[in-house]
């Protein structure tokens, strides 16, 4: 059990550090990497809103296809990209959506009988499966654009773009600081776990291992609390609360402007197409 917890924590920390912090893909010479960050931010916001707005699986799949095309043209390998889109968020959403597929939550035409007991039965309905599929694919397509943005943009550029788009200063500052300190706290956690591991000889019993994790959590909480006060002091001494921020961005380049217009047009066209000609390809399964 303790090995399981150790390994899980270690992997989670490693994954977050690598996947979010890694600037491996943002340094590549691909399509999205070459775009102005503001254009990317606005374009993806439009695509995400459009994906939230559409109601058919067919169009949602088109959004997914679009994100995959963008990933390939940005030199992100699909073997790296697809697990990131499908592994966590949609998978967890899928688990959450499972009850919605059942007749007890969403009554309708039954497709498969899951369980039957003494006259009472549990089955998957077409309407339930449709609702669950829509939810999962929608989450996958919206998160795919968010993942694309984080993979192809250096964090500093994203922060600058947010400043430049006149997002509230305090919001951008908190976001930027959270990003900075998440890694510091992760690093601290990792070192605490390592130091704990270095002092444990022999096999550890699961209950005692769980008991030992609580002081680590408490220590981390106290450290972050004292950090919080000191960081605030450090900001105060440098005049925080007086003037605003400056942005390094001036004008958007033509290539990025064209990309932005194309993405907005694409998002609007897909929504419009769905409204005017409701797709019927999957209607045999989800009427």
């Amino acid at each position: 059990m303790s090995r399981f917890v150790d390994k899980t924590l270690d992997d989670v920390i490693g994954y977050i550090s690598q996947s979010i912090y890694s600037e491996k893909y943002s340094k590549k010479n691909g399509l999205l990497q070459g775009m102005d960050c503001r254009a990317k931010l606005v374009a993806f916001l439009f695509l995400i809103f459009a994906a939230v707005y559409v109601r058919t699986i067919e169009i949602l799949l088109l959004f997914l296809l679009l994100s995959a095309i963008l990933a390939v043209s940005s030199k992100i390998s699909l073997s790296f990209y697809i697990p990131r889109v499908w592994l966590f968020i949609p998978l967890f959403t899928g688990v959450i959506a499972i009850p919605a597929t059942l007749n007890v939550v969403t009554p309708g035409t039954e497709i498969v009988k899951v369980l039957s007991f003494n006259g009472w039965y549990l089955s998957i309905t077409r309407e339930g499966a449709h609702a669950a599929a829509i939810l999962v694919i929608r989450v996958a397509s919206t998160s795919s654009f968010a993942i694309l943005l984080t993979l192809t943009t250096r964090w500093n550029d994203a922060v600058d773009a947010m400043h430049s788009l006149r997002l509230p200063k305090i919001f951008v500052l908190i976001l930027s600081m959270s990003y900075r300190y998440i890694f510091l706290l992760l690093d601290m956690t990792k070192k605490m776990l390592l130091s704990r591991k270095s002092r444990i000889l022999g096999k550890e019993r699961s209950v005692s291992s769980w008991k030992l994790y609580s002081p680590i959590v408490a220590a981390l909480f106290m450290k972050s609390f004292s950090f919080d006060e000191e960081v605030y002091f450090a900001m105060l001494t440098r005049g925080f609360g007086n003037k605003g921020e400056i942005s390094k961005y001036k004008n958007i380049d033509i290539k990025s402007a064209v990309f932005l217009i194309l993405c907005i047009s694409m998002a609007m066209l897909l929504v419009l197409y769905e409204r005017l000609y409701p797709p019927a390809v999957l209607q045999w399964l989800f009427p």
């Binding site: 912090y21 002091f233 005049g239």
Partner: protein, 285 residues
């Protein structure tokens, strides 16, 4: 007559959990002076610096910064404190506290931006400061990617860029490698020469003869104060406060005990060289 920039009279500070961090400390820091606050770990040096910087209000006692009385109410009035803070720069003990932006450049620019300095000047100031500290190559790096020494230098840059009149430095040479430490000492000397008021809190006694004119020794309470020579050669006082004489002074004490004659115990390497030259001359005769 020299003007006191910071005055502390009978200042005590107790943490919310009841621990006494400082007890009845009194001191005056004069304009253009380089002063050291020496004391062992946990002596209250960092708390004292926070009080001197107008960030913490003392539990009792009087604090005056630039002639203005500072208490809990004054600290909460940001406009009044802003005038004081723009003339003061604090380098914190933990550089991670000071580096909260996404790049070193942004961190160094944070102070000037909030002081309302024009965009063009900010750029030249930031680049100039990074260059003067020899860290222009880390300008675009994320603070997470820096070594501890680089973090320390970047934290120092975040303060120097605003060109404050008073510099409060908490263990500024911790984490610096010998070369960077020497360069930093040179920088402090230059700043002192420019008339800046410098206060260094440290337990590293080796750098003090080079950068301080006066030393306050504290161990929760103000234990002693005096000129660098008087304090650094007072073995009884240093032993009582868990401090040590500088390495150079210790070496000459050992030489003296071995029978070598020297006129005055040196505290710096330069002083030691002079002393050794004289000793060789004497031996030659």
């Amino acid at each position: 007559m020299a003007v006191p920039v910071i005055e502390l009279e009978d200042v005590s500070y107790t943490y919310p959990d009841g621990t006494d961090a400082l007890s009845h400390a009194s001191l005056k820091i004069f304009e253009g002076e380089s002063t050291a606050i020496a004391g062992p770990n946990g002596a209250g040096k960092s708390t004292l610096l926070l009080i001197m910087g107008g960030l913490l209000a003392p539990s009792s006692g009087t604090v005056k910064i630039f002639g203005k009385k500072i208490d809990g109410k004054t600290i909460s009035r940001s406009k009044r404190m802003y005038d004081i803070r723009k003339r003061m720069g604090i380098v914190f003990q933990n550089p991670d506290v000071q580096l909260f932006s996404s790049t070193v450049y942004d961190d160094v620019a944070f102070g000037p931006i909030h002081l309302g300095i024009s965009e063009g000047e900010i750029e030249s100031r930031v680049k100039g400061t990074l260059k003067s500290l020899g860290i222009e190559h880390i300008s675009d790096k994320h603070p997470y990617d820096l070594s501890r020494g680089e973090k320390r230098m970047a934290a120092i840059a975040t303060v120097l860029v605003s060109s404050p009149d008073v510099l409060l430095l908490d263990e500024p040479t911790a984490d610096l490698d010998p070369k960077n430490r020497m360069e930093f000492v040179g920088l402090l000397k230059r700043l002192g020469g420019e008339g800046k008021t410098i206060v260094i809190a440290t337990h590293n006694m080796d750098i003090l003869p080079e950068v301080a004119e006066k030393i306050f020794v504290i161990n929760r309470e103000a234990v002693a104060a005096g000129g660098v020579r008087d304090v650094l050669l007072d073995e009884e006082l240093l032993e009582k406060t868990n401090l040590d004489v500088p390495v150079v002074a210790r070496l000459f004490k050992l030489l003296k005990n071995s029978g070598f004659k020297n006129d005055e115990t040196p505290l710096t390497v330069e002083g030691a060289i002079e002393n050794i030259k004289k000793m060789i001359e004497r031996e030659g005769k």
